[in-house]
Symmetry: C2
Subunit: 262 residues, 2 copies
């Protein structure tokens, strides 16, 4: 069922209604880096079997709470948040389906920031020991997870560049390109469209702008026919021009580019 997305006159239904979200994003992501044996797949699946559902805008782990192990997002968008005393907030990472984040904070095993959901999420919390066991038995899993960690780090650096020296439009364009690639690697992109279950204020807090200015920049992107965005569904109308505008070079995500500009 290929979609005709030539015109932004799009229906506003989600691309992936909750029921038909592709199964294990986690496996899909890991297998992009390493072939996994049937047992490895099973072991990984068991790890996340006890995942729980969280509504949107809910804290999964608050700053100061003791924490250990990893958190794995299976469905929905979550994020890492840091707060300032004046109430200002900064999102320092998006956690998409298949993403994991380490919770070990070293000596002091307490969160130094908050992890919360942006949309409704399904999230597994995996204790260190369980993870260690799997990783010890399945080196391929260890290797794949290590790749994820490297990518996460490269992404943090890329975000610093984004916020540090790009204009408002460029920042947003860059974010959209990044999300496209990350989501497509876990099968959550159809054509050039993906669900972006996030408010404009969330985007603002991610790229270091005000919500008003994000709104205006989005309109500029729409006017230039680079994107269509409504009802929390984003379509990239012109990948070529959008990625050029953002100076987006996907190598930091270590993903093969399977972007075909429709």
């Amino acid at each position: 069922m290929v979609q005709a997305l030539r015109h932004p006159a799009v229906e506003d239904r989600p691309v992936f209604p909750a029921a038909e979200v592709p199964a294990s994003a986690l496996l899909q992501k890991l297998e992009a880096f390493q072939d996994l044996s049937a047992e490895a797949r099973k072991a990984v699946s068991r790890l996340v079997a006890s995942a729980k559902d969280y509504p949107a805008h809910t804290d999964i782990l608050r700053e100061g709470e003791p924490a250990d192990g990893v958190l794995i997002v299976l469905r929905g968008f979550a994020c890492r948040n840091q707060f300032r005393q004046n109430g200002a907030r900064q999102i320092t990472a998006f956690l998409l389906p298949g993403d994991h984040c380490r919770l070990e904070t070293g000596l002091i095993n307490r969160m130094d920031h908050t992890i919360s959901t942006l949309s409704p999420c399904r999230v597994a919390r995996v204790p260190s020991e369980a993870l260690q066991a799997v990783v010890r038995q399945h080196p391929a899993v260890r290797q794949a997870l290590r790749m994820c960690i490297l990518i996460n780090e490269a992404t943090l650096r890329e975000w610093i560049v984004n916020i540090g020296c790009r204009t408002a439009i460029e920042r947003i364009a860059h974010l959209f390109c990044e999300l496209h690639l990350r989501l497509s690697s876990v099968g959550l992109v159809r054509g050039m469209t993906y669900d972006l279950p996030v408010t404009q204020t969330d985007i603002a807090v991610t790229v270091g702008l005000s919500n008003v200015h994000v709104n205006r920049s989005l309109q500029a992107l729409r006017k230039q026919r680079l994107i269509a965005l409504s009802g929390r569904r984003l379509t990239i109308l012109d990948w070529q021009r959008l990625s050029e505008l953002a100076e987006f070079s996907p190598s930091y995500l270590q993903a093969e580019r399977r972007i075909l500009n429709g």
Copy 2:
């Protein structure tokens, strides 16, 4: 030899002339996290024995070059740089004495950014195998290095917050507080003074501002008697107020606060 630093009327000699930089910053840093046996210390020392000296403003590793293993800075300030096509630059990390950075970039073992010196540096490049060997024999070293990695990551997040939602003055104040703590953990702070062998433009490129505005913000910090800065030597005159201004909370560095405000 305690210094009288009540007045910013300071002599402009470096705090640590090249000759008397404290020996192995690396060991000092690792031992802040883990006690090391004599053999472990020796093994680590051997690892960095082949360090080379680089002049200021020199690329150690350029974007696109194949790379592997780790880089360990023993003396001087280095940094990770990312460039934009228009020539704009963003520093995404400071590499201080004792800091290391992984060079494995995963599948594609190529640098996705450049590492260069800010001041003259002594840097060791350690191949994976050599490091692996040491780490395998000395779990304490592995553990300490793991801590460093977690701290590096937390620092990246903190920088995103810094650039994303603080004012110019706050950003610079935050950077100075961070550097103070990091340098003091490797014995490179005397009283409240440390060498900051970096231009104002470097600072600008670090915190996402223009050099002109950094200059003006520095003057504001001086006028408020929070810092003294001249001849590449920084003195924090009022840690209390400076860290409050920056909303600096040192926990992400996992260092015991041994800050005594003179």
